[in-house]
């Protein structure tokens, strides 16, 4: 049974795209067939991570919403773009990069059904083991519509006051949309902290499982969304952490 995993956060720039891309890569390297839908039209980055050029994106997710193409037409097989051959396959449904104004976004409740149909079609036609969705952050309508299709929602947060409050609100709202499983990933934790303590405190605060506490690493920052960390540093402890998280999320 395929899983739809939504990678969400309250705030921009906490590492949604980075984590989504790494999870997809790690699952595919274990032999799974994975797709990522990038619904974050505001600052799409996923295509960059997989080296997909804008000129090669015939159709985007927004074109599917407009009814200009089938969802399969917007799914690009990016497995060959990677510097390493994988046992599995990675498909990417990128977000529109051209004009944000004209791009159609998920914005009314009816779009939930459209997205759900798209996801089901993609899962069936590509024989997916996992479908990852990179969202628009926060509790905007675009973000909330996407949440309706999630089997698992991964909430990413950093250690900032803004994240604590916003994550609290988002979690409460998400719980009213009957998401079967909601988990947390703490990202960019300063290494000076005691990570076990962060995990316990988070679990207590949000009454929710913490799948991983990931450190802030200059190496990740240096990649600047141009390459996939787990591919570049296969033996790094962060890669091990991400692999564990990937297994946890798909089990």
């Amino acid at each position: 049974m395929s899983k739809t995993i939504l990678i969400h956060s309250f705030r921009h720039g906490v590492g949604r795209s980075t984590i989504a891309a790494n999870l997809a890569f790690l699952l595919a390297s274990e032999g799974q067939r994975v797709a990522i839908i990038d619904t974050s039209t505001k600052a799409p980055a996923t295509h960059l991570l997989f080296g997909l050029k804008e000129d090669d994106m015939a159709y985007s997710f927004n074109d599917y919403l407009l009814g200009q193409c089938d969802i399969q037409q917007a799914a690009h097989n990016v497995t060959g773009h990677l510097k390493e051959s994988l046992k599995g396959q990675i498909f990417l449904v990128p977000a529109n990069t051209k004009s944000e104004k004209t791009a159609r976004q998920l914005n009314d409740a009816q779009d939930a059904l459209l997205l759900n149909t798209g996801c089901q079609t993609l899962i069936d036609s590509l024989g997916l083991d996992a479908l990852l969705i990179d969202t628009q952050p926060g509790v905007s309508e675009t973000a909330l519509v996407a949440i309706t299709v999630a089997d698992t929602l991964v909430m990413i947060l950093g250690l900032s006051k803004q994240d604590y409050q916003g994550t609290g609100v988002t979690m409460d709202v998400v719980r009213q949309l009957d998401v079967p499983r909601v988990v947390l990933i703490v990202n960019e934790a300063p290494t000076a902290f005691d990570f076990d303590e962060i995990e316990t405190k988070m679990e207590q605060t949000y009454n929710c499982e913490v799948v991983a506490v990931l450190p802030h690493l200059d190496e990740v920052m240096a990649l600047a969304n141009k390459d996939i960390f787990a591919l570049r540093y296969p033996n790094h402890s962060l890669t091990t952490q991400l692999r564990k998280a990937a297994i946890n999320l798909t089990s």
Binding site: G168, L177, D194
Partner: protein, 375 residues
Amino acid sequence: MSKNFFSTQYWGRLSITTKFTLAVVVLLALVALMALTSFLALTSVRRQTEAVLLTNPQSSQPALEMADIEDARRQINQTGQSATTVLLVTIAVTVILAFFIVLLLNKSITRNINRLTNAATQLQEEKKRSDNLLNVVIPIGVALSAEQNFDRLLEKILLEAKSFCHADAGTLYLRTENDNLNFVIVRNDSLNIAMGGTSGNSIDFPPVPLFNTTGKPNHSNVAAHVALTGDSINIPDAYRAEGFNFSGTKDFDQTTGYRSTSFLTIPLKNARNYVVGVLQLINALDQNTGQIVAFSQSLEQIAASLSSLATVALEAYIREQNLRQEIQQLRIEIDEVKRQRQVTEIVETDFFQDLQAKARNIRRRGRSSRLEESE
């Protein structure tokens, strides 16, 4: 920085060795130049004369002017001799020249020779100091940075400094936020006193204020003075020291029968030059006789290096503690009232109600289709 070769400052900064090397090089260059020119002159004279005499005696003009071969030989010898004389004179002149160059470069040679011997002993001292730094101070610094227990860290700072300086007693003070020096570790070997740290004994000495009640800086207490100025103070005998009030020490001595004599008081200064604590070592003991002596100047320097490493370890510990506290504070930062209000605002909208219904629909369908799949 431009180098002005003609300024006395520039030459003055050169060491005597450099100056002497310079002079010798000039001298050798002059001698070599002279020798080369004389050699060339001599060879050419000899060649010309001999060629004329031996191979073509009739036709050449110089040969006709000479009476016989002996005469020619004498002439050649004379040329050679005068060349030698010129050479010798040149050497003499260059030696004198070199001497004057050295004199010129160096107003007082003797002073510099003295300096040279001084430098040698100084070099030895420096080497000893750097050896100490490398083999003693830095390992201690590393050990301090690795210490995870704050009490043990404080204790280690005092004990390492005390043992390194062969002090019989010592105190570590930490500065509080309200500018007091608190006694945190006290040790006295001959009185068998161990207070603070891991000893389990509390310290009941009152803290030393850095400022009195009217805000005047307390320069009479040596530890307070060191904390205020950031400079260390080395006192050979507290009872004969002027400018400091050792009444606290004297009270202590009176009740215990101790004789506090030599004091080395060092500030624990951080990178921003703020004094976070004071390290005080008391009664340096002569390693051979066990007699109380003054703290030597070289010990003072090493203790200063040790104290800066100790400060680094202390600051790192405090920083980590603050970071650890921060996470607890951040967790509390959720404004529950606001959170409730924000959630209500979202879920009460028509959009959300609609979406909620759709979500239920999707999930029911998803479940049933999966049910079909598994059947």
